[in-house]
């Protein structure tokens, strides 16, 4: 078989001008446009920021020493831990369910489609607070949970209070509710993938499940990750609603409890706010890296970092030029246009 690469001439990058080392003659060094608005806005923002800092520092009602005292209080730190666990666990539950729901929603099977639709309709249509109260009351509604044939024999049974503890009820409530919202995000992501992708994969003989797992879902992730990051950050703060279960170990409850014990609500609200902000910042860093990973191949300036492929920032245009299959550049040279002072002589 013949080798087709490099059949054309390689694109010469043009010899440098001997005097300046710059291949471009008369490069423009213009005086840039001035931006007085930027300076003005910077001054205004600085003044406003100073005012805010001043207002925060000098108002002793914020009671910064108390904030410092309770920032790493054991009860508060344990609250941070529980809040993180609730967020992570309910998001994992939500994401797994959401992917299933989204796949069911686009299935050929009408039963699956309806189940998904009804689920989303119900869990999106009722308040999260109500759902959390419901999960807290589940042991009252069903003191015993058994596994068996409906109206028939039963194989196992559990006491509900043992199976559904307060933290599990909280995770169930938050996760099942979140799944309904995330399902729509996943569905939008799956829809965003070009139909030709599925067709090409089918033409290669791939099964539907393989196509979803290897071709469609990885590309959909690019669209799914940003709003899911948003949902995760939202979830972080929604966990403060688990009081409805009631679950009483999360960050918001911990700071509230200290506040009502010590009669210092404002500094403890500040403590909670600082922690929520800190966690959000960490989550945003994680989101950035996830977006970069799933954006591989789409943003051509970032190489995916896999197996450290060739050179860093190959653009499409460079690729075309390097391949030497386009005659354009060579034609330009052959015509001997007067470019890059003295280029002709260098050949």
């Amino acid at each position: 078989m013949s080798d087709l690469a490099g059949q054309g001439r390689t694109a010469s990058s043009g010899p440098a001008s001997p005097s300046t080392g710059d291949p471009v003659p008369d490069r423009i060094h213009a005086v840039p446009v001035r931006h007085p608005g930027r300076w003005l806005s910077a001054v205004v923002v600085l003044v406003l920021a100073a005012m805010v800092v001043h207002a925060l520092v000098t108002n002793d009602k914020f009671d910064w020493p108390t904030v410092g005292k309770y920032l790493f209080n054991e009860q508060v730190v344990r609250g941070v831990g529980w809040t993180l666990w609730l967020t992570v666990a309910s998001m994992i539950l939500g994401i797994v369910l959401a992917v299933l729901l989204a796949i069911m929603r686009r299935s050929d099977n009408p039963v699956m489609r309806s189940v998904s639709w009804v689920y989303i309709w119900f869990f999106r249509g009722t308040p999260i607070y109500t759902q959390l109260v419901f999960w807290g009351l589940i042991s009252v509604l069903y003191p015993k949970i058994s596994l068996g044939v409906p109206f028939g024999p039963e194989w196992f049974h559990f006491t509900t209070t043992e199976l559904v503890t307060a933290s599990r009820a909280a995770i169930l409530g938050l996760g099942l509710n979140e799944a309904a919202y995330l399902a729509e995000i996943v569905r939008a992501g799956l829809q965003s993938v070009d139909r030709g992708q599925e067709e090409a994969a089918r033409a290669l003989g791939m099964k539907d499940s393989t196509i979803l797992r290897r071709i469609v879902l990885p590309q959909a992730m690019r669209v799914i990750v940003p709003p899911t990051g948003n949902e995760t950050i939202s979830m972080l703060k929604t966990t403060s609603l688990v009081l409805a279960v009631p679950f009483t170990l999360d960050l918001q409850f911990a700071t509230n409890a200290i506040a009502s014990r010590t009669f210092q609500p404002i500094p403890l609200l500040v403590v909670a706010a600082i922690w929520y902000l800190a966690i959000t910042s960490v989550l945003m860093v994680g989101q950035h890296y996830l977006e970069r990973y799933y954006g591989r191949g789409f943003d051509e300036h970032h190489r995916g970092g896999r197996r450290g492929g060739p050179g860093g920032r190959t653009t499409r245009q460079e690729a075309i030029a390097e391949a030497g299959t386009t005659p354009d550049i060579a034609v330009f040279d052959d015509m001997g246009r007067p470019h890059a002072g003295g280029a002709g002589g260098a050949r």
Partner: protein, 264 residues
């Protein structure tokens, strides 16, 4: 059945193929035989149904009537009897996937997987469908990328390749499945004019290696040089067929003459 790939044993037999999209009757009784190891070029104005024929062969479309056989095997259905009468049983998706894996297809818009490098694109179906080991699939991918002249682009993502390079990767991806038949659906129509040549060169190469090919294209030069059989379609039917010399140089039908004069 297991004759070597020579002589006139048909690779593709299409008989009485009809296809409707809703009320639109796009294929109106197509008959086509492509012997093993030959190249069939399908020409015709846009909307004549040429691409649909290819998509039916690969079961990307359900057919409305007719039979398509590839290497003697009926595509998409199993013949049997129901209540004492002959009946067609639709194949399950797994069986259809198996049939498709024997046929390579190249699309007008390349449809490379953008989240995978060129090498991964060529490896993917080998690993997922043929269950080859990563090492084996990788070696085959390297060999095929070399064959289409893209060894040095193996670790590039599709967005970093020119259209012509992407289409060559797509051809390598299809060849990696060791197909017995290759379908080309306007493989050069989405390319800048100066990139067409490199793709046609790979296809010419492939034809010379004895691959059975059905090519839908507007490249008359390619048809003249490579085709064993040229088929001209219009309005969902075959208007004229024959050797390149017959159809391209001495068309009998007015519809063919009109089309050729508009293309040239």
């Amino acid at each position: 059945m297991s004759e070597p790939t020579t002589g006139d044993a048909p690779m593709v037999e299409i008989a009485g193929l009809h296809k409707e999209f809703g009320h639109l009757h796009v294929l109106r009784g197509i008959d086509l035989v492509v012997p093993k190891g030959t190249v069939c070029v399908v020409l015709g104005p846009s909307g004549s149904g040429k691409s649909t024929v290819l998509r039916c062969v690969n079961e990307l479309e359900d057919i409305t009537a007719g039979r398509i056989r590839v290497d003697g095997e009926l595509m998409g259905y199993r013949e049997g009897t129901k209540g004492g009468k002959p009946a067609l049983f639709r194949l399950g998706s797994r069986e259809i996937a198996r049939q498709r894996a024997r046929i390579g297809m190249v699309f007008q818009r390349f449809n490379l997987f953008p989240h995978m490098t060129a090498r991964q694109n060529v490896m993917e179906a080998q690993v997922q469908v043929l269950r080859r080991s990563k090492a084996e699939a990788g070696a085959r991918a390297d060999e095929l990328l070399r064959r289409v002249g893209l060894s040095d682009r193996a670790e590039h993502y599709p967005a970093q390749l020119s259209g012509g390079q992407q289409q060559r990767v797509a051809i390598a991806r299809a060849l990696a499945m060791d197909p017995e038949l290759m379908l080309f659906d306007e493989p050069t129509s989405a390319l800048d004019p100066e990139l067409v040549g490199e793709v046609l060169a790979v296809m010419r190469d492939l034809a010379q290696s004895g691959m059975t090919m059905i090519v839908v294209t507007h490249e008359l030069g390619f048809a003249r040089e490579v085709a064993d059989q040229v088929v001209f379609m219009a309005d969902g039917a075959v208007v004229e067929r024959g050797t390149p010399a017959e159809v391209l140089d001495h068309p009998r039908e007015a519809r063919t003459q009109e089309f050729l004069s508009s293309v040239l």
